[in-house]
Every structure is written in structure tokens, then in C-alpha cells.
Symmetry: C2
Subunit: 275 residues, 2 copies
């Protein structure tokens, strides 16, 4: 049985309804730090094994959780565990910054950039481009039913980047008017599929049909070294509107052939030619 404070973090992770892979991985790392504050020796190493199982249980097919639990190995030394968990968090933050730097180099003055939902990694790209003095504007989807797009709009307003908000159904209409597209990723499979907020696949198709390059911004720990697209479990959260039950799978699958490149902290991954 894991200590109560660690259980509490796991409960928070399970209850999280909006934020995705990066947030959950960070929370998971914090659970290891908490554990290393409370236990040591054999108790610690066996609790780490249990915690890793529990973290994977939050979402058994999410790469960021898989990679976190493989980054932190069972150990009897609390200092070592804490150092590894802190290193994971630090590497994640540095990765996001570096993706911002690399991604912003793809933006030219005058670009009209379309994005879908709210990716903090994509926001990092916009911030870096703004700091570099690039002139561009954003088209963003409101992203029903949780309206993550409106949260992104608030952030863009704060930092003075101009934007327009569209309904999700207009993704095709506005992709045609765009010059560039960026989306985040919740998960990238071993066969190069991008699992991201439902609607990403539609944006990718519309960009592809109009010759608009679409890039995915994702820290390398979001790449699953083993699972293929069809093995990924897509979470659903049904809701009601006007007494009708609405199906609500949170993510969809975008095949790699519709993606111009995946921007990681290590560089931009491009799809193999034969796709």
C-alpha cells in the first residue's frame, strides 16, 4: 500500500480531465519525489515498483507515463530516486524550450498558423517566435466540448500574439487560408502515428489536401518505443447536451504520412519516404 500523500497524487492524475501527457508525466515524477521523501531501503524499492504499476494504470498506453516509469528504476536510495525524478522534470522543461526554439525557426513573417486544441509545447513555439520578432498570426479552434482553445486564446492575448478563433467544423475552411500548421501530441506510436486531441486527424487531412505543412511538436518522451497505433487505448468521456448523450473520444490517430515533421528537442523527425 502506497503512502497516503502519494496515493493523493495518483488520484489527481486519474481525475485530470483536460491536461494531457506532459502534465501527467510531471505529476508522476512528483509522486516519485514524494515517495523518496517518505521511504527508504527495501520499503522504497518495492514501493517504487508498485508506484510504477499504478502510474501506468492511469493510462496504460500513454508513452510519457511508460517512459517515465522506465526512466526511474527501483532503488533503495532515496537521494538517487529523487535525483532521477528531478532530472526527468528538468529534461522535460528543457525539451519544451528547445522545441520552442527549433519550431519557431519554421515560422516566416506573414505566416498564418493554424492549430487545434491547446498544446503547451506549441505555445512555447509561438512564444519563441514572438521573442525573435517574427510577425505572424494564429487561427485556433475553440475545441469543443472543453474549449481548450479559449484557454490558449487567453495565453496568446497576454503575450500579444494576434489570433482568430474558429469552430472545430471550420478546420477545413480555414486550413485553406493558412500557410503553416502546428499541433501537439499526447502520444506518438512506434509506427509514427500521432495521437492527439480529436480533430487533429481532420486538420492533417485538410492541410495535406491544400499543401500546407503540418508539424507536430512533441518531447521525445512522448514517443512510445513499443506500441503501434491500433494498440493505443483512446479514452472516452461521454457528456450530455440537451438530454442527448454525446460520444466523446478525446483523441484521434493521424498517420505519419500526413505529417511534415515531428519537432522534438533532438531535432525534426521526418516520415520515411515509403509512407
Amino acid at each position: 500500500m502506497l503512502p497516503k500523500d502519494v496515493q493523493a497524487i495518483l488520484e489527481e492524475m486519474k481525475a485530470e480531465k483536460i491536461r494531457g501527457a506532459s502534465y501527467l508525466a510531471k505529476k508522476g515524477a512528483e509522486a516519485y519525489i514524494k515517495l523518496s521523501d517518505l521511504l527508504d531501503g527495501f520499503e522504497l524499492s518495492s514501493a517504487i515498483e508498485e508506484l510504477s504499476r499504478e502510474i501506468l494504470n492511469v493510462n496504460p498506453t500513454m508513452a510519457s507515463l511508460y517512459n517515465l516509469t522506465h526512466f526511474i528504476k527501483p532503488s533503495q536510495d532515496p537521494e538517487f530516486v529523487k535525483a532521477k525524478a528531478q532530472e526527468f522534470i528538468k529534461l522535460s522543461e528543457e525539451a519544451r524550450k528547445e522545441i520552442g526554439n527549433i519550431g519557431s525557426e519554421l515560422i516566416d513573417d506573414g505566416d498564418i498558423i493554424i492549430t487545434h486544441s491547446f498544446s503547451s509545447t506549441v505555445l512555447e513555439i509561438f512564444k519563441a517566435a514572438k521573442v525573435k520578432g517574427k510577425m505572424f498570426r494564429i487561427i485556433l479552434t475553440e475545441s469543443s466540448p472543453d474549449y481548450e482553445g479559449l484557454a490558449l486564446a487567453k495565453e496568446l492575448k497576454k503575450i500579444g500574439i494576434s489570433f482568430e478563433i474558429i469552430t472545430d467544423a471550420q478546420i477545413g475552411f480555414f486550413a485553406k487560408k493558412s500557410t503553416l500548421a502546428f499541433v501537439g501530441a499526447d502520444n506518438i506510436t512506434q509506427d509514427g502515428c500521432v495521437i492527439n486531441k480529436a480533430g487533429t486527424y481532420l486538420l492533417a487531412l485538410a492541410c495535406f489536401d491544400n499543401g500546407i505543412p503540418l508539424y507536430v511538436a512533441a518531447e521525445s518522451f512522448k514517443i512510445h518505443p513499443k506500441l503501434k497505433a491500433e494498440e493505443i487505448e483512446i479514452v472516452e468521456r461521454k457528456f450530455k447536451r440537451n438530454h442527448f448523450l454525446i460520444r466523446n473520444f478525446l483523441f484521434d490517430v493521424t498517420p505519419w504520412r500526413y505529417v511534415r515533421g515531428i519537432i522534438t528537442e533532438l531535432g525534426i523527425l521526418v516520415p520515411p519516404k515509403e509512407l
Copy 2:
């Protein structure tokens, strides 16, 4: 100056926010009937010219209004005008029934049929298939921000056709699980593009990518004999959500190459091979 009762119909047409081409054409025909009740002789023929201009003004690029105003020629004989307007309404109703009949033949037992927004012509297909005893179910989009999908859901519930409702952003996710797709059309251009509720283009792309046949159900009077896709004016109705202004173009453009066929009362039109 047109009579007050006729003006009132025009105002209704201009104010209409949800219903599209079929509804507006019928309303327009009713305006001619009203006019033929009130005027005759030279007064009537010149009022018809004015009414036709005003009807076109409601939406200058809408085929159904263009075709209505060409179906009813200026005449000094009220009986003749009334008969033509009534004929237009009757032909429209018969066309919808016949499309229902033709379209329902495309449905096989076990089909999972995806549709977007609410087309009364597509509903006619579902009704005819139900009468013929076919077993199928519908996946329909809620169709934000006006939720026409929920109105369709109510109709399907009444007639006992099973359905599931999805958010617009899941069009790609659920197109993959479908076996057939039907949409309506607000306008079909001379170059074969389908102008329909924003999101139709996305559904067409997703169906095409997954080999799912997508058919458009449209009375032949929705085909514009002159205008090409880029000449069509797409109506926008911006709205606010959480203090943010949301762009809201009502329609998008689906190129003919993504459409398996356009079901009209005259038969199924298929795209030319070279597309």
C-alpha cells in the same frame, strides 16, 4: 415597392439562421403565390421582376434561389404565376421523395452511416430505407454552434432509427468506423463542388482517406448552372463564447473528386473520371 405581406416573407427569408437552400426556395415560391393573390396585369409582371431581384439578394450565389427566379418568369397572369410557383413546390417535394427512394437503395443491412448537420433530403433517404425494412444505424454530428444534429436526432428518435451523436471534431475518428456517408447540399457549383455546412469537407476527406463512399443528396435545383466554387459567397455569422468572438462561416467547399456521387431526383451524378 412590394406589398407588405410579400416584404414580410422576404424578411423571414433574410432572418432565417438555420434552414438552408430547400427552405428558402420554398419560401420564395410562396412569395410569388402571395404576389399573384394581390396583383395582376402590368403591376404583377413588374412586381415579379422586383421580387426576383429581392429573392436573389437574400443570397446572390445560392443555386436554389437562382433557379427559382428563372423558373418563374414575369407574367401579367396571376393564375399562371401561381401555377408555376405551386409547380416548383410540388416538383421540390417530389424530388426529395425520389431522392429518398434512390438513396435508400444504396443502404445495405448492417450499414453504419455517418452524416453531418441536418439535411431534410438525407432524412428522406433514412425514412425510405426504414420503410423498406433495412437495418442500419446512424452516426451524426451535433453540429456546433447551432446544433442542427440534435434536431436530426429528435427526428430519428421519433421514427425509431438508432443513432449515436458525436462532436464535430470526432468526424475523422468515426468516419473510420462507418461504412457509408450521406450529406445534403446547400449549393452545388457548375464545376461540381459541394457547398454544405462547414465540416462537410472534413467528412469527405476522412471518408476518402478510409475508402468510405460519401454521397451528396441534393435536388437538381440546387445545382447552379453558372457559378464556380470560387464565385460562391460563403455566409458568416460570428458569435461570442466566453467573451471571445468566434469566426463562423456556415459552409465549406468539397471538391467533386471526394464525392462518390450526387443523388438527385434524376439519378446519381458521378464525378468525371479525370478529376
